[in-house]
Symmetry: C2
């Protein structure tokens, strides 16, 4: 059900609105079906624009993907900021931040888009590596000198596993669990991974 | 570089050998690039057979996928068997079993094929749900009456995260870590998830 760049209201949309509509549709498509199945044609149809406009605004599907799955630059700082506060509750703060991002309709599609696409698309895989090594590394290296890189990637495995099992594959009872309950069961795992003894 | 069903040796391969060659090539392709990108044509080429033979033996791509990503039926029993032995070491035994399956060249492709494909393919997603709920559930329900379903799926998140981050996306230092070291850092997490207090 493709529409022209003249929107539902009948008024011609401005450049910014058209660009935003494409970005919104693309993010949802990458999050729902991954990079390969999200075609330029289907994204254009969902945004109600001609596919040529995607190339006009974003250059290519690759450029579109990179732009709409970019995380806010302040996220790294927010991660590092979790080190502030009682050390015995850093696992809880981290669990709250992670579940918060995954429950937030603005950030969830970004994370799921990267994750779904990473399985088959090298560019998306690189973005997942960056997220885990750089952003989580900012937190662990401000918490401890004891193997911060290993702790960052271990925390990353638990974040990725949560996102995949709760939101992509949707295994019960985790898929329907309250966000607060998810935070409660994950906090002790993160607490040990971030600042506890890594091995017995 | 497709070959006919006459193998490299020049002798015509038997039905079983041809079927096995297709299954082997398909499992590797699904594990490497996921369901969507693993085409019948590329699988046939890798197996050195005509694509029509895949349909002859397996009916469809769907049937091929289901058959080559089937896990040995004894796996569920093996999972439940991990409950035997000292309770304070069940996390260690589980970590050894999981890392063992992921390091084993016979079982790793099966798990990665399901995981890579689950991101975009509903049938593969169903198989991941089955693996987590049924097979892990056999273990947790023989260990405890305290929320065994939640424990199974939580253990599943850590298994899925490990497989994805270490073997699919390959984030360092986890990707290059010794299998024994991976077991050591995961054992305490599994110990708490399987038989410890779920929340603080």
């Amino acid at each position: 059900m493709a529409m022209s760049s003249t929107g539902r209201s009948g008024r011609r949309r401005g450049e910014t609105q058209t660009r935003d509509a494409i970005a919104f549709a693309a993010r949802a498509a990458f999050a729902d079906v991954g990079y390969d199945r999200a075609t330029m044609r289907s994204i254009a149809a969902a945004a109600g624009v001609d596919p040529a406009l995607i190339v006009h605004f974003f250059g290519s599907k690759e450029g579109l993907f990179r732009e709409v799955t970019a995380l806010p630059p302040e996220m790294g700082a927010a991660m590092a900021g979790l080190a502030d506060g009682p050390r015995q509750e850093v696992g809880l703060r981290f669990a709250q931040a992670v579940v918060g991002m995954l429950e937030n309709p603005a950030t969830r599609p970004v994370i799921l888009a990267r994750l779904r696409s990473a399985a088959s698309h090298p560019e998306a895989a690189a973005l997942v590596r960056e997220l885990v090594s750089r952003d989580l590394g900012l937190l662990t290296s401000s918490l401890t000198d004891d193997r911060p890189e290993a702790r960052a990637v271990l925390a990353g495995t638990q974040v990725v596993g949560l996102a995949f099992v709760r939101y992509v594959v949707r295994v019960e009872p985790l898929a329907s669990m309250d966000a607060a309950a998810v935070v409660d069961v994950l906090a002790p795992t993160f607490q040990r991974i971030l600042v506890g003894p890594l091995t017995d």
